[in-house]
């Protein structure tokens, strides 16, 4: 159950070009902002959108290859897709929804219902078998949708924003359950999400999409430690800059400001600064920090007992300080401050 996919799709101005490789049992998250092409990629894997280039093969079977002229229709693929709104058939009970795929494949009613009942039981929904979708809660509907998708024993399970339709209170529970079900699934699972937390909880690997192409691909830990796009850096809450390094100095590409770093580097690099390593001062600081700039406070967010302060200046950054410090310094929007970052707190890695 190995997936090799290189998806190339053109839609007017938008071009999608994504490669996804996955081994059996692997859960891959497709992470990206709205309009990055995540859902289109998912629909291409399901066969709802034909490829313009590239190829998809699953378990050694070629599913789509425009060059060879191969196209396997959605209903003949061992691929199940769970839509964002779940789309349970409103005229069928939960049980008949789960049995639908088995019936469509020609299984007798009695056997299909027996298997569907077992599936619902696994998802803790045995008592909802007779319920129509309109009588299910969001979390229950999601479980029925996933049970329905898994009932046909697909080699590839596709989930489009599986948690986006849920409210915050049920989300955490459903996320945990979904994680367990995905772990038990033997095939390849591809989960589309724009939420880093969902990706972190559900997937072992993340493919980051932006504007139709992959900006980063790797294990979650690597992604968090070495973000390669502003989008990922924002998701994991880190400051990401890039520039050109010579020796112990990096010239920031956007402003020309120089940043001193602790380790010797050369060439084009990413510069990563954790918000809690950024100090704010009301007057120019003297002392050990090698990097300091005048800046202006652009805004702030309260995060528990911490405050994330956005500062504008030659190097726009986010600083994380304690609420107590925020109050003591009497900081406010539009205020001029000094930003200081110790060279030893800055990580660099090649672009």
């Amino acid at each position: 159950m190995t997936l090799h996919a290189h998806l190339k799709i053109r839609r007017g101005e938008f071009a999608l070009d994504v490669a996804i490789e996955a081994a059996p049992g692997e859960v891959v998250a497709l992470l990206g902002p709205n309009g990055s092409g995540k859902t289109t990629a998912l629909h291409a894997l399901a066969g709802l959108v034909p490829l313009d280039g590239g190829a998809i093969s699953l378990d050694g079977e070629l599913l789509d290859d425009p060059v060879q002229g191969t196209f396997v229709h959605p209903h003949q693929r061992a691929v199940s897709l769970v839509f964002q709104e779940y789309l349970l058939f409103p005229h069928l009970s939960a049980l008949d929804n789960v049995a639908f795929g088995l019936r469509a494949r020609g299984m007798g009613r009695a056997e299909a219902q027996r298997q569907a009942t077992a599936m619902l039981d696994r998802f803790g929904l045995a008592d909802k078998a007779r319920a129509k979708p309109s009588h299910l809660s969001g979390g229950q509907a999601q479980r029925v949708a996933i049970a329905r998708a898994l009932a046909t024993e697909p080699s590839l399970l596709l989930l489009d924003e599986p948690l986006a339709a849920l409210d915050a209170t049920t989300r955490a529970t459903v996320r945990r359950d979904l994680r367990a079900h995905l772990a038990a699934f033997g095939g390849v699972a591809v989960v589309v999400t724009h939420d880093a937390l969902d990706a972190l909880a559900l997937a072992s690997r993340v493919v980051v999409l932006d504007g139709g192409s992959v900006t980063q691909d790797g294990p979650i830990a690597e992604l968090a430690a070495r973000p390669r796009s502003r989008y990922v850096a924002d998701l994991v809450g880190l400051n990401l800059l890039h520039g050109h390094a010579t020796g112990f100095t990096v010239t920031v590409a956007s402003s020309g400001e120089r940043i001193t770093v602790a380790d010797r580097v050369d060439g084009d690099v990413y510069v990563l600064i954790a918000p809690r390593s950024v100090a704010l001062h009301t007057s120019e600081p003297d002392g050990s920090p090698r990097n300091r700039w005048p800046a202006m406070i652009a805004g702030f967010d309260l995060l528990g007992d911490r405050v994330r302060v956005r500062v504008d200046g030659p190097v726009p950054l986010v600083a994380e300080i304690t609420a107590a410090a925020f109050t003591t310094l009497a900081l406010h929007e539009g205020q001029s401050v000094w930003v200081a970052v110790k060279a030893t707190e800055i990580t660099t890695y090649p672009r």
Binding site: H73, F89, A149
Partner: protein
């Protein structure tokens, strides 16, 4: 969970969205109310007249006359046959109009909907021109099914629509089909087609999806379209009398009988009219959720 998509059924138009609540509403102008009341009377008076005119004591015996019973039976058989034909041909037609695109589609739709506005008697003349024994299709059909023709093994001595119940069915289908197509096409267009995509990813082929998902989701509209088509077929007069003629027991349906008996046996004509009125009211009540707003 977001609100589920409104996939079928009429939009809620019962309350105009405006300013103020019940208390803030101004009284409607008297002149408008008076004219509106006159319009309502215009509809109500003829019906009241019909009910008043009926000789209720002889109603049962009037309806039991041979001419009345044969018209009732013929109307029922022909209108139901026309409804079955409208569904059989209308469903694929509505699907094609709703889901495919081809050159000249606007023209095809106009053609299909033409009988809605065409005077039925013109429809009857047109049917004569095509399907009578002298018509270019009817003549050919008769020749191949008559003794000596390629299909002469079929029962009967040649297919003939004029002066036969088959002609009545044809005329009724001609006028009723558009009602079914227009209703079902609208339902197919407003349906969330992602349900069909879901079915496909679950392994359902097109035919299974059509039967188990599409038709089930638009089911209420299919029923409504069929009931509308049946009501229209049952009341068909102009095309039927022009094309199929007026032979008691063969082509004399209820509306034809009402018209022809009006001089000779007016009580029977009124009794049959009441039957048709009753059926129309029943249809209206059956479809009230679609058309009539409560409140």
């Amino acid at each position: 969970m977001p609100e589920p998509h409104e996939t079928f059924g009429p939009a809620d138009v019962s309350t105009p969205r405006g300013f103020g609540g019940a208390r803030g509403q101004r009284r409607p102008p008297l002149l408008v109310t008076a004219i509106a009341a006159m319009a309502v009377l215009f509809f109500a008076l003829p019906l009241a007249g019909l009910v008043r005119r009926a000789s209720w004591s002889t109603l049962a015996s009037d309806l039991a006359t041979p001419e009345a019973t044969s018209a009732l039976r013929l109307s029922l058989v022909c209108s139901l046959s026309a409804t079955v034909l409208a569904v059989l041909f209308g469903l694929p037609l509505a699907w094609t109009l709703a889901r495919t695109s081809f050159p000249g589609k606007a023209f095809v739709r106009a053609l299909v909907l033409l009988p809605l506005v065409l005077p039925p008697v013109v429809g009857g003349v047109a049917l004569l021109a095509a399907f009578s024994r002298k018509g270019f299709v009817g003549g050919w059909l008769f020749d191949i099914t008559a003794p000596g023709g390629a299909l002469s093994w079929l029962p009967g001595d040649g297919v003939q629509f004029t002066f036969s119940p088959a002609g009545v069915v044809l005329a009724e289908t001609f006028v009723a089909l558009p009602f079914f197509v227009i209703t079902v096409e609208a339902a197919l267009r407003s349906m969330d087609i992602r349900f069909e995509a879901v079915a496909a990813t679950l392994g359902a082929g097109r035919w299974f999806t059509f039967r188990q998902v599409t038709v089930r989701l638009i089911g209420p509209s299919v029923v409504a379209g069929a009931v509308l088509a049946w009501a229209r077929a049952l009341g068909e007069f102009g095309a039927t009398i022009t094309f199929a003629g007026n032979i008691e027991g063969r082509t004399e349906t209820l509306p034809l009988a009402v018209y022809l008996l009006l001089d000779s046996r007016p009580d029977t004509a009124v009794a049959l009219s009441l039957v048709l009125l009753g059926i129309s009211l029943t249809v209206l009540v059956a479809l009230r959720d679609r058309w009539l707003e409560r409140g």
